[in-house]
C-alpha cells in the first residue's frame, strides 16, 4: 500500500474521530443519563452496599454505562445518520464507509473510556483511595462489556427499521435487562433464573465479579465485535428506510 495514502487516511480518520467525539460531547442529555446519572445513583445508594467491595458494588453501574453507550451511542448513531439521509449523501463509497466506521469506532472507544473513567473518579473516593491496578482491571472489564453490547447494537442497526422503531427497541431492551436484573437480585434464582442467565447486563456484571474469566471474555467480545463491525461495513445500509429509493 502507498505510504502517502496511509498517512492521508490516518489524518482523515483523526479528523473525523475528533468531529464525531465533539458532536457527542455537545449532547447534554447523553452526558446526563449515561455519565452523571449512574454516578449520582451510586452515591445515593452507597450506604446500602457499603459492606461489599467497590468492584462488586459498582459492577452493575459500569455494565449499565457500557450498555447505554453501545446501544444509544454507538449503534443508535449509525441508525440516526442513516435515517436522516446523511449516510445516503456522504457515506456511500467503500472508502468513505471504511473511514467513517473506523473513526466512529475510535470515537466511541474514547467516549466509553471517558465515561468509565469519570465514574471511577467520582465514585471511588467514597470507598477508599484510587488504585491504578484496580482502575485498569475495571477498564478491561468495562471494555469487554462494551464490546459485547456493541455486537447486539450492531445487530439491531442492521435491521430495516426506522429511527423511532430503533429507539423503542433499544429502550425495550434496556428495560428488559433492568427488570431481569432486578428480579434476579430480589427474588433469587427461581422463576427469573433462565431470564437472568441470558441477560447481557447480568453476564457483564459476572465479568466484573470475576465469575467469568476476563481474558477469555475479552478475546471473545473483541472477536465478535470486530466481526460485527466488518459485516456492518460489508453490508452497510445506505438508504434510509423511509426513502422511496
Amino acid at each position: 500500500m502507498n505510504p502517502n495514502h496511509c498517512i492521508r487516511s490516518a489524518k482523515k480518520i483523526t479528523t473525523i474521530t475528533k468531529i464525531l467525539t465533539t458532536e457527542h460531547l455537545r449532547e447534554p442529555t447523553s452526558l446526563l443519563w449515561s455519565a452523571l446519572a449512574p454516578c449520582i445513583l451510586f452515591i445515593i445508594t452507597q450506604p446500602t452496599h457499603a459492606a461489599s467491595t467497590y468492584t462488586a458494588s459498582a459492577a452493575w453501574f459500569y455494565s449499565y454505562i457500557s450498555a447505554t453507550l453501545a446501544f444509544f451511542g454507538f449503534s443508535f448513531y449509525l441508525i440516526g445518520r442513516r435515517e436522516s439521509g446523511f449516510t445516503r449523501s456522504f457515506i456511500y463509497q467503500h472508502s468513505a464507509i471504511k473511514l467513517f466506521l473506523t473513526a466512529h469506532t475510535l470515537s466511541y472507544f474514547l467516549l466509553s473510556s471517558l465515561y468509565a473513567t469519570l465514574f471511577y473518579l467520582l465514585t471511588k473516593p467514597l470507598r477508599g483511595h484510587y488504585s491504578l491496578p484496580e482502575y485498569l482491571y475495571l477498564m478491561a472489564c468495562f471494555y469487554t462489556s462494551y464490546l459485547m453490547f456493541t455486537c447486539i447494537g450492531l445487530g439491531i442497526a442492521a435491521l430495516p427499521i426506522k429511527f423511532s422503531t430503533a429507539s423503542t427497541l433499544f429502550s425495550l431492551m434496556s428495560f428488559l435487562m433492568l427488570v431481569s436484573g432486578y428480579t434476579g437480585a430480589t427474588l433469587g434464582h427461581d422463576a427469573s433464573h433462565t431470564l437472568t442467565l441470558i441477560n447481557p447486563l447480568f453476564l457483564s456484571a459476572q465479568i466484573f465479579h470475576g465469575e467469568m474469566p476476563l481474558l477469555n471474555s475479552f478475546l471473545t467480545a473483541l472477536s465478535a465485535s470486530a466481526a460485527s463491525t466488518y459485516l456492518t461495513g460489508r453490508y452497510f445500509r445506505i438508504q434510509p428506510i423511509w426513502s422511496r429509493y
Partner: protein, 233 residues
C-alpha cells in the same frame, strides 16, 4: 476522452421499469445538464452512476478517480457547526481536500462577498441554518474538492438568486479546471443557458439536445417550459 459512458442501461423497481435503454456520455471538462420532471428517474440515474444501485441491464463506464456527488437530501448533524460538517464531509471523500482557509481564499477570487457569506454560514450551527444556506454551503464545498467528476442533483433548488449565481460560477470554474459536471434540474432556462449540452429524461428514456432551440423545435414549443411539458407527456 469520455470520463463517463452509459450504454443500453435498464433499471426498474419491483418489476416496474423506470429507465430503458439509457445512453449518455460526458467528456473531461464538459458541463452536461439533465432535465426531467419529478419522479422521472434523475436521482436513480445518479445512484446508478455512483454504484449505489445496480442496473438491471447495460453498462456504466465511470473512469473518474475523484468523484463528488451532491444528493437532493442534505441533513448535516444538527449539533455541528457548518465548518465542522464541511470538514467531516471533505474528510469522507477520496480527494486531497483543501482546508477552510484555502476554500475561503478561492471563493474570494470569485467574489469577496461570496467568501464573506460562506465564512458567516461556516460559523453557524447546522440546526440554525436555512435549507438554502445548507444547500449552497455544501454545493460550493463539493465544487472545491478538486474532483474530476461532479454530480449535482438539483443544487439550486430552494437557493436564493445570489447564491444561485455563485453556484453556477463555481460549476463553470470547476469545469475550467478540468472537472466534468453532470447536473440535474427542473429549471429549463438555467440548464439551457449554462450547460454545453443537455438531456431530457422522460418516459423512461434520455433524449440528447445541443441547445434550447433544438429542444423547442423538436417538441414543437414556443418556450422552454412548453418544450419540457410536451417532452414529459
Amino acid at each position: 476522452m469520455d470520463i463517463l459512458t452509459i450504454n443500453n442501461l435498464h433499471f426498474g423497481y419491483s418489476g416496474n421499469p423506470l429507465l430503458n435503454d439509457i445512453e449518455l456520455t460526458i467528456k473531461a471538462g464538459e458541463l452536461v445538464g439533465i432535465l426531467g420532471n419529478n419522479g422521472a428517474g434523475k436521482t436513480t440515474l445518479f445512484d446508478l452512476i455512483c454504484k449505489i444501485k445496480k442496473p438491471t441491464k447495460g453498462a456504466i463506464s465511470n473512469l473518474s478517480r475523484r468523484q463528488a456527488y451532491l444528493t437532493q437530501i442534505l441533513t448535516p448533524p444538527p449539533l455541528l457547526r457548518m465548518n465542522e460538517a464541511g470538514k467531516l464531509i471533505t474528510s469522507l471523500t477520496p480527494n486531497v481536500s483543501p482546508d477552510h482557509t484555502e476554500i475561503l481564499s478561492k471563493l474570494a477570487k470569485w467574489s469577496p462577498s461570496l467568501s464573506k457569506r460562506y465564512a458567516e454560514i461556516a460559523k453557524k450551527k447546522a440546526a440554525n441554518c436555512s435549507y438554502g444556506e445548507i444547500r449552497s454551503y455544501f454545493t460550493l464545498t463539493l465544487l472545491l474538492l478538486n474532483s474530476d467528476l461532479i454530480i449535482l442533483d438539483e443544487p439550486t433548488a430552494g437557493v436564493d438568486p445570489e447564491f444561485r449565481h455563485y453556484i453556477w460560477l463555481g460549476i463553470k470554474s470547476a469545469c475550467a479546471e478540468g472537472a466534468s459536471v453532470l447536473i440535474a434540474s427542473h429549471y429549463t432556462e438555467e440548464i439551457t443557458k449554462n450547460c454545453q449540452r443537455f438531456y431530457m429524461l422522460a418516459n423512461k428514456r434520455l433524449e440528447a439536445f445541443d441547445s434550447g432551440g433544438q429542444f423547442m423545435e423538436r417538441h414543437h414549443a414556443k418556450s422552454l417550459d412548453e418544450a419540457f411539458i410536451n417532452a414529459s407527456v
